[in-house]
Symmetry: C3
């Protein structure tokens, strides 16, 4: 594995291998051992769109591995501003570093950059397309917390149309044989192409619903995401949708005892904060799992 661009580039065996490596890394972290795998090595974080959370998670993973991080707080200050093209920027940054993590607003950028660069490229989000390290940590979280993925009732809930995280997650959960329910407000469903692709490739039965209540009652895993207000012309409408699609304590009364709630964070009201303290809430564990998973990815691309 030289690059990590899309979850679709990986088959089940390759994903399993990354998850096993992640488990090793989690063990190393728990034992408080010092790793020197990345000693003298440099990770460049090239974010053409802000994402403090993802950047810091990669930064933490690299530092835990004994490596250094070279960040671009404001990419505009890069020579991009002086009119330099992306190819030149990459051909420069690869001379300074050993691995490049890139986020870019345009779909397909990471793939293009991987072709240009002689150093490993990790896609940390290209438009609304892929964000494979997030998908891998989502899969890892479910496996760790539920013991398996196959056969689980998993509900993806929220603004499925816009959330980048959801599309590759649905795809890879289907690959692992989960039973999928997609719960979203009317108009914010997944697009048809994705559903057809999943159906064709994995022969998965998927349920679509706008009824959040019954969906949550059936679930082994609820994966929620926020309504992406910035994509709405009418903010009042967005607010209303968000309120109608909120996970509340009452909603959990009928839930399975061992149901878990995941969320890529930040959450801004779509999960009532009184739920944070319950046994269901596992989103902060999920954040923690991001570190060993990204340590595994970094160690495998180099």
């Amino acid at each position: 594995m030289k690059d990590l661009i899309s979850i679709k580039d990986l088959n089940i065996e390759e994903i399993e291998e990354i998850l096993e490596k992640s488990e090793e890394m989690e063990f190393v972290l728990k034992e408080n051992k010092n790793l020197d795998i990345m000693k003298g090595k440099i990770l460049a974080t090239l974010f053409f769109e802000p994402s403090t959370r993802t950047k810091l998670s990669f930064t933490s993973a690299m530092q835990r591995l004994g490596g250094s991080v070279m960040g671009f707080e404001a990419v505009e200050s890069l020579s991009v501003a002086k009119g330099e093209n992306l190819t030149d920027t990459i051909k420069t940054v690869e001379k300074y570093s050993d691995i490049i993590v890139i986020r870019h607003p345009k779909e397909g950028t990471a793939r293009y950059v991987a072709e240009v660069s002689s150093k490993p490229i990790i896609n940390a989000g290209d438009g609304s397309n892929q964000h494979p390290s997030q998908t891998l940590l989502d899969l890892y979280s479910i496996k760790k917390l539920k013991g398996r993925i196959e056969g689980l009732n998993i509900i993806l809930l929220g603004d499925l149309k816009h959330a980048r995280v959801m599309k590759p997650l649905a795809y890879s959960l289907a690959m692992f044989g989960a039973k999928l329910t997609f719960a979203s407000p009317v108009g914010l469903e997944f697009n048809k192409e994705l559903l057809n692709e999943i159906k064709e490739k994995f022969n998965t039965n998927m349920i679509q619903t706008n009824d959040i209540y019954s969906a949550v009652n059936e679930a082994d895993v609820v994966y929620a995401c926020r309504i992406q207000k910035e994509r709405f012309a009418d903010q009042y409408e967005a607010e209303k949708l968000q309120k109608s699609f909120k996970i509340t304590p009452e909603m959990l009364e009928g839930a399975k005892e061992d149901m878990i709630i995941l969320h890529a964070l930040p959450k801004v009201g779509e999960v009532d904060s009184s739920i944070d303290g319950t046994k269901y809430a596992k989103y902060f564990d999920q954040v923690a799992y991001g570190i060993p998973v990204r340590m595994a990815i970094l160690s495998m691309v180099i």
Copy 2:
């Protein structure tokens, strides 16, 4: 000691212990020894208000201890901007790091964050309330430069009403038995509550004056601070006050031979720059002492 929130949480013995540890660290630095105490460990600097000086001092201390630093150049870019609450931000950042240094414009924030976080929290300023690592390095500076604190004539000089650094310093100097004089322009005195608290707890005699000349003549230590112009409605008034409360070379003619001048910096005219080269000026030594003191604090909270 898990957290460092307020100097008032510490008794004399605990402060003495930190100062002793700081002396050890200063020795290590002088010997040019490499410390691996923090190898593989990560410090997160979470500044919701800019303070390059404090942030860099902690960064330097952590790097000198062999650890890594994860900085937030612009905290607005954190998911805070997307509407995330502070609790979620902390519960995320604590997964990426081992110690969190936080500065926040609202009083009480650091204490709240320490309750939420399972990782050590160091308060690097919460509103106009506390900034305990600064207070500790001030105490350390006086002890190193004068051999003791008890019985010294110490003048706190300047905008005592607004300067955050001054209140906890007055409190802890009283705790250590210094003789205190507070010299400020009319209207910029300490508030009564602080004076009453100090009097009650430590039975300290304090002198208040608006006469900067005679105050300086009596002093073993002059601790100056700038007029915080940004708090004044009338900038002309602020300028005038600053000029009237400036330490000048003439003022030092009657000073004790071994008097020292300290300042938390930046200084912007309240100490004439011609004084920098004199034997009295010790503020740059004070900056240097910040490193071993913060190394001690970091090593003690972990």
Copy 3:
């Protein structure tokens, strides 16, 4: 060598010594060896003007040497904004770090800072004056790629009036006995003072031309730079000059077989991007050489 302020402070022997050290560093990098020369040491990058490229190159060099870097993303946030003078800023930063790399818009600043500071200062650009680490990596690139500097036909091409990189380069190439041709649009020639200085000191014959075609045909090395549009009142005029002074594939038809093209980057059209893939284009190698050269400089000032 305590500081590196201007290429003019160095004689040929001293430059040769740095270039030899750079070669050692390049070898260490190739062998993938871990260096601990800078373990526990801190580099402060103090950029009062943005230059991501230079900053990252120094950052990479320091990290490759096992050291840490303390960056100032936005120097305005430094206390400079609160009205602090530069001397105080330096006297503070030197307490946090072991080496300071400074870029400042005002000519002479680095020299002044070196006088104030007890720690080594590396000038990373002071106005349009000097940028010695760039000059050294330019010399290193030519020596590595062509085997020597003396006697080579070297063309400096572009906006010679404004490009900071060109003046110290012309000076030092003359020092090493290169034959120099200066090709620029009318009005963007080097100033007379520089030409007189070079002539006087090194007795170099220099050709000035506005004919880019014939210049390129004679060259062993073409060193191009962009038209600095931001210095032009008339943007239309700047665009026109840039187009007229572009290196095109046709222009290379008459070039020597082993001619090389260098560029300090970013390039924004003055070298046709179809040239990137040809044997002539060596600017990305030049970027890579920046790392061992800066590693050498860092290791030699400490």
